[in-house]
């Protein structure tokens, strides 16, 4: 039972990371209708810049304060130079060009930071563990990640439902020409949305820095899971991204933690372990296939 609660929190934490990644990506999908494989690169850039600054200055917060604008600047530059030309192209062109971007960014980080992974320390004020329930100790840092996710979700909700900018973004998603005709600078709006998405991906990268190794190519493993989240949640829907991220986080964590034990009731321990290991690493994809069999457009398809 205690283990179950701990795994529940782990699932929640993975879900929050995935939400940070998928919120930005689903906006870009939904509003600009563009597939951006390079979203994982921004996650990586965020982690690298934060790790470097934090190591030099000794301050995690300073690392974050530098990494977020740097990543946003890189993202907006990419939007201005490459992605902007792809909005009207078909998905194939978008896939290939952003695939090229991945090559470029991965190799660039290897040139700048070398092939050795960087390691980021958990800031002292977030170190240690707290006793949530009698017998359940949980690292403070992972709780902080969950808190950041909740704050970001709240921020996005307020941004979209309560501000003028949010209204313009929603309008731009449903009818680009109409919004432009009303005098909104839609190109600037797109660049801003892209920057916002980049910043969220970088935030995920920064938060992941202390618990994972910071290395070239780190963005790709989470990128694919992010796609799964978006497809399950429904392309273009931030609410769908939130639900999808939490579901995927839970399915993945619970599968890895408990599937081998469950299978032991039926199979011999050796078979159960092998089968459990392969089934749990595929569980997310099986879950996605199941969702799409019943809901081909995802759980919360966006209005357009």
């Amino acid at each position: 039972m205690l283990l179950f609660i701990e795994q529940l929190l782990n699932g929640l934490q993975l879900g929050v990371m995935l939400f940070l990644m998928s919120a930005g990506l689903t906006l870009v999908f939904g509003i600009m209708q563009v597939i951006n494989l390079a979203h994982g690169s921004f996650y990586m850039i965020g982690a690298y810049v934060a790790a470097t600054v934090a190591a030099r200055s000794g301050s995690f917060l300073l690392g974050m304060a530098v990494a977020l604008p740097v990543a946003a600047a890189v993202g907006m530059t990419v939007e201005l130079t490459v992605l902007r030309r792809l909005y009207k192209r078909d998905h194939l062109d978008q896939v290939l060009a952003t695939f090229g971007l991945i090559f470029f960014f991965n190799e660039l980080t290897r040139i700048i930071w070398g092939r050795q992974p960087l390691f980021m320390d958990i800031p002292a004020w977030l170190g240690g563990a707290v006793e949530l329930l009698p017998g359940v100790h949980y690292p403070v840092y992972r709780l902080a990640i969950i808190l950041v996710g909740v704050l970001v979700a709240l921020f996005l909700y307020l941004l979209f439902s309560r501000t003028r900018l949010g209204m313009q973004i929603r309008a731009g998603a449903s009818n680009r020409e109409m919004v432009a005709a009303l005098g909104v600078n839609i190109r600037l709006l797109y660049t801003l949305v892209f920057g916002l998405g980049t910043m969220l991906a970088a935030l995920a990268g920064i938060m992941a820095g202390p618990i994972l190794a910071v290395e070239a190519g780190m963005g790709e493993s989470i990128l694919i899971l992010t796609f799964v989240v978006i497809v399950i949640g429904g392309i273009g829907s931030v609410r769908g991204a939130l639900i999808g991220a939490l579901l995927v986080g839970m399915v993945d964590t619970m599968g890895r933690a408990f599937l081998p034990d469950v299978l032991r009731f039926v199979f011999s321990p050796a078979t159960a372990d092998t089968l459990g290991a392969s089934l749990s690493s595929m569980s997310v994809y099986i879950f996605m296939a199941m969702v799409l069999t019943f809901k081909p457009a995802g759980l919360f398809p966006a209005h357009n």
């Binding site: 695939f99 090559f103 190799e107 694919i224 296939a289």
Partner: protein, 328 residues
């Protein structure tokens, strides 16, 4: 009929035919293994072209079929070395290194996986199709990573290539010509297929699937058949690649491999079948060439790809022949 396209095709064929004696003449035998890989990736890219270029189905998981073909070779060879059975129930299947048995198994396994996943993937369109093909490929990738019996993420090494009556596959020259022969047969078959009634329906689905349906064709079945056929060909490419390098690993079906095959198709020219072979040659030669100068060759290749996508829409084959190429 003599035109630019025919001249280019004949020239390309001559280069490939004369390559082994030329490499021996100049003492550059290592090029032979590179060109064998070019032929094999050319087969994979041409098979992707059937669904991507002709059918307009953007699959980002094509490498998975190569992986399945490769693992068919690897797993059967593994059981042959160990003298154990791959399966003892309900059928007794023991390991083998006979290419005449192993390669058809590789093709059938890839085709079966293509049929099952294609049946699900083709229910969706556009972005969803890209994502789902990608997800199935990742699923298979993680499945093979977790198969510790067959080496897990380290993969499987073969002690030697498969055996075949009359051909000595261990000889690099023989193996090269066999790959060339298989590729040519596939290109001819693919060409005939796409000129046929079946191919017209597939191209029609790319242009406007609704119209095809209105004309009374069950477009879904045509697309699924095309997808399965492409998967089978990629499975054969995987079996050849496993033999060429005498090694298989899950890396063969990583999604970046699928991306690379897609790049080959676009680089060479979509919907031309021959173009993707040219694309495979260009990409692999470029990798090899750039790697001689810098270990960071990807930093050049990445922007090169972006430029090709943005400005050279018809691909190299389109540029050379001045015709054909890409359909938007």
């Amino acid at each position: 009929m003599i035109n630019r396209k025919a001249v280019i095709n004949v020239l390309g064929l001559l280069i490939f035919l004369l390559l082994p004696p030329l490499t021996q003449l100049f003492g550059q035998e290592y090029l032979l293994s590179l060109f064998s890989r070019i032929l094999i990736y050319g087969l994979a890219a041409a098979s992707l072209d059937l669904i991507l270029g002709y059918g307009g189905m953007v699959s980002l998981g094509h490498a998975v079929f190569m992986g399945i073909g490769g693992y068919s070779v690897g797993i059967l060879a593994f059981h042959s070395y160990e003298s154990t059975a791959f399966m003892s129930w309900p059928l007794l299947i023991s390991g083998t290194e006979n290419a005449l048995l192993v390669w058809p198994v590789a093709v059938l396994a890839a085709a079966f996986f293509g049929l099952v996943t294609g049946a699900i993937c083709l229910r969706t369109k556009g972005m969803h199709f890209i994502m789902i093909t990608l997800a199935f490929a990742q699923m298979a990738y993680y499945f093979f990573v977790s198969l510790s019996t067959y080496g897990g993420s380290d993969g499987l090494s073969l002690y030697n290539r498969n055996t075949m009556p009359l051909f000595d596959l261990g000889s690099d020259v023989t193996f090269y010509y066999l790959c060339l022969g298989i590729l040519l047969v596939f290109l001819l078959m693919g060409h005939r297929l796409m000129q046929s009634h079946f191919g017209r329906v597939i191209s029609g689905c790319r242009e406007n699937e609704q119209r095809v349906q209105v004309l009374g064709f069950a477009s879904y079945r045509y697309k699924l058949a095309c997808y399965t056929f492409a998967a089978a060909a990629a499975g054969l490419a995987g079996a050849l690649l496993a033999n060429q390098g005498e090694f298989v690993s899950p890396g063969l079906m990583h999604w970046t491999k699928s991306g690379e095959i897609m790049v080959m198709v676009l680089l060479g020219g979509m919907g031309t079948l021959t173009g993707p072979v040219l694309g495979a040659a260009t990409l692999l030669l470029m990798e090899d060439f750039l790697a001689m100068y810098t270990e960071h060759w990807m930093v050049i290749l990445g922007p090169f790809l972006i430029v090709v996508v943005l400005f050279a829409k018809r691909g190299l084959y389109g540029l050379l022949t001045g015709a054909g190429g890409r359909h938007d």
